[in-house]
Symmetry: C2
Subunit: 361 residues, 2 copies
C-alpha cells in the first residue's frame, strides 16, 4: 500500500466528494404538492360543469388510464356528469386518408363556433396506438380551431382494442357534453371497423369523398356508403368543380338505389371546398335539416336509446369472448381444432362443441 | 230384473261382444319391424355416398331433430360424409317476396340438370317456424324440378334461432355434397339477417330483383347489394323488357361505385325471364366465369376456409351469449340495468360491468 504523501504520484487518492442526493428535494417537494393538488372526482365534476377545459382534460386522462384507481375515479366523474350530458348533437365524420378530413373539420369547426356553437372534436382510431396517433395526433393540423376558445380537440385514445377505444370515446362524449359542448364531432379513418363503432355513437354520419379519385382513394370499407346520412365531396375548387358536380350526380343516383332509412331521412350529397371555405354552410344546413326531422319524428331520441342498449350488450359480449379466448387451455385446444376444421376432419360445429364442453366443464 | 225369454222385449240384453284389442297387433308388428330397420349411421353414410336420396332425407331429418340421441347419430353421419363433401359450388339466391324466386330457381335448376349438373335446393328461413315454412314449404311451386331425378329439394329447417337454422343448413350442405350433388342452391328471403348467414355459407351470392318496382319491393335489407356477386333482373319479358334494361344500366352504375371485392371479381348485372326461360344461360355463364376466376386465383378455397373458421367461432360466441343471457339472476339484473341506462342513471359500460361481475363471481 502506498503511504499518503504530499507528492502527487499515480497512487495518490483524493478524499471522496459527497455525491449529491439521488432525490432532488426541492423537485420532490413540488411533486408532492402537485399530487396533493390532484382534484377529487367531485372537484373535477364541478370544474367540468363550469366549462373548465383543464378539468375536462384531466378527467379524460383518468378515463384513458389503465390504473384501476384512476378508473374508479373516472367512473365517479362520469356518474356525476351523466345527468348533465346528452344535450348535444353528435356528428361522425369519416373518409379515407387524402380526402382532407383535417382541413374539413377545421373549416367546419370554425364555421360552427362562428355561429355560436361550442365544438368538441374527438377521434376514434384504434390503430393510433401502433402508428402513434395518425388521427388528430398532430393538433397543428387544426391550427386555428385549436386556438378557438369555443373548441376543444382531443386526439384518439390509444388502446389495444377497438372496444376499449370506443368505450373511452363514448365516455369522453359524456364529459364533453357536461362541459357545455353542444356539437360533438367524432373523426375516424374510413378503412377499418371503426366506422361501425363510430356510427353506433353518433346521431349523424358524414362521409367525406373527393371527385375523380382512383379506386384506391375511394376504397372505403364496404357498407360505409349505406351508413352515410350525407356524402360531402370535398376539394370542389378550381379545376375540380366540374368533376365534383358530376360525382355529386353519380352519388345521388347510387344513394337512390339504397333502401329507405329508418330515420325517414333521405341521404343528401353536396360539394364543398374546405380549403376555400365554400359550401360549408350547405353542409351544416343538411345536418340541421336532419336534426329537425329526427327530433320531430322522435327518431333522434329513439336512436340514442338504442345506442345505449347496444353499448351495454356489446361490452358484455366482448368480455364474454375475451374470457373464453384468453383461457390458456382453450387457446391450445382452439389451435388444434382450427387445423382439424381446415383439413375437413371435423365440422366447424362439432369443433365448437368440443371447445365449449371443455370451457364449461 | 227381466227374465231371459225367447220373446224380444225392450229389456232383452244381448251377450256382450269382446272389444277389439286396443293395439292392432299386426300394425304393431310392422312398426317394430320398421324400427328395427332404422338404418345405422354407417348404413346412412353408405346410402348417401351411393347417391340414395331416401338415405339423404333420413340423415337430414336426424340433423334437424332436437332429440340428443338423433343428434349424436347425425354427427356420426356428418363425420362419415365430411371426407366426400366440398366437391361442389354453393350458390346463394336472395330477393324480396314478389321477385319470383321460386320460378327463377325452377327455371335455373332445370337448366342446370339439363347441362348435366346435380342440383340440391335448400333454404334458410328462420321465420319459417312461425309462418310454417313460407320458403319452399310448398314444393308444388317447383313442380318440374321436384320431379327431376337429378334435383333434390329440401324446405328450410325450422328452428328457434337463425344460428340453429344456419347450423342445420351448413351440415345439410355437407350431406348433399357427399350424396353427389355438385351444385347447391341456398335460397333465402331478402328481408332479415339470414342473408348474412347465407352469404357466409356460399361461394357465390345472387341477388334477384325486378325492374320498376316501388321502394317497397326493392326494400331489401341494407348491405345486401354490396354482398351480391351478380344482380339478376327477373321478369324481363313483354312490356318489361325496356324497363329491365334501364334497371340494368342503373345497377351497373351503382355497383361501379362500390369498392372492389376481395375475390377480384367485378359484380355483373344481367336480365332474365324465369317465366319465359330466357337469359338463364347468361346467368349461369356469369357464375361459371366467377368460379373460373376464383378457382384460379385461389380465392375460392380461401373463402371456404374462412367460412369454416367463421362458423366455428360464431357457434362458440353464440353459445357463450346464450349461457349468459339465459342465466336466471342475470335476466333480472339485466332488466334493471336496461332501465337505469335508459334513464341515464348509469353509463352503458358501468352497467355492463355490474352484470359481468355478478356472472363471473
Amino acid at each position: 500500500m502506498a503511504k499518503h504523501s504530499k507528492t502527487p504520484t499515480a497512487l495518490y487518492e483524493k478524499d471522496g466528494v459527497k455525491q449529491p442526493d439521488s432525490v432532488n428535494q426541492s423537485v420532490a417537494q413540488n411533486v408532492k404538492q402537485f399530487r396533493r393538488k390532484q382534484p377529487s372526482a367531485n372537484e373535477l365534476v364541478e370544474g367540468i360543469l363550469k366549462g373548465d377545459k383543464i378539468a375536462l382534460s384531466r378527467a379524460i386522462t383518468l378515463i384513458e388510464s389503465t390504473n384501476t384507481e384512476h378508473l374508479d375515479k373516472a367512473n365517479e366523474v362520469i356518474q356525476g356528469c351523466l345527468p348533465h350530458a346528452n344535450q348535444s348533437v353528435r356528428i361522425g365524420i369519416t373518409g379515407v386518408p387524402g380526402v382532407g378530413k383535417s382541413t374539413f373539420i377545421e373549416a367546419f369547426g370554425k364555421y360552427l363556433t362562428a355561429i355560436g356553437k361550442k365544438v368538441a372534436v374527438l377521434a376514434v382510431d384504434p390503430s393510433s396506438s401502433i402508428s402513434h396517433g395518425s388521427i388528430l395526433g398532430d393538433k397543428t393540423r387544426m391550427e386555428e380551431l385549436v386556438k378557438d376558445e369555443n373548441a376543444y380537440i382531443r386526439p384518439s385514445a390509444s388502446g389495444d382494442s377497438l372496444g376499449g377505444v370506443a368505450r373511452k370515446t363514448r365516455e369522453t362524449i359524456i364529459l364533453c357534453e357536461a362541459c357545455g359542448f353542444d356539437t360533438i364531432i367524432i373523426e375516424t379513418v374510413g378503412v377499418g371497423q371503426s366506422e361501425t363503432a363510430v356510427h353506433s355513437m353518433v346521431d349523424f354520419f358524414l362521409l367525406l369523398k373527393i371527385a375523380g379519385a382512383g379506386d384506391e382513394l375511394q376504397g372505403i370499407k364496404r357498407g360505409i356508403m349505406e351508413m352515410a346520412d350525407t356524402i360531402v365531396i370535398n376539394k370542389a375548387d378550381g379545376d375540380n368543380i366540374a368533376k365534383a358536380k358530376l360525382a355529386k350526380t353519380e352519388f345521388n343516383r347510387a344513394l337512390h338505389l339504397f333502401p329507405a332509412k329508418n330515420s325517414g331521412w333521405t341521404p343528401k350529397v353536396t360539394t364543398c371546398s374546405a380549403y376555400e371555405k365554400t359550401g360549408i354552410d350547405q353542409v351544416w344546413q343538411i345536418i340541421a335539416d336532419y336534426f329537425e326531422l329526427t327530433k320531430e319524428n322522435q327518431y333522434f331520441e329513439h336512436k340514442r336509446q338504442e345506442q345505449n342498449q347496444y353499448w351495454m350488450l356489446e361490452t358484455i359480449n366482448e368480455q364474454l369472448k375475451n374470457r373464453f379466448y384468453s383461457h390458456p387451455e382453450i387457446k391450445i385446444l382452439l389451435e388444434q381444432n382450427k387445423k382439424a376444421v381446415q383439413n375437413n376432419e371435423i365440422s366447424p360445429f362439432a369443433a365448437a362443441q368440443i371447445l365449449l364442453e371443455k370451457y364449461f366443464k
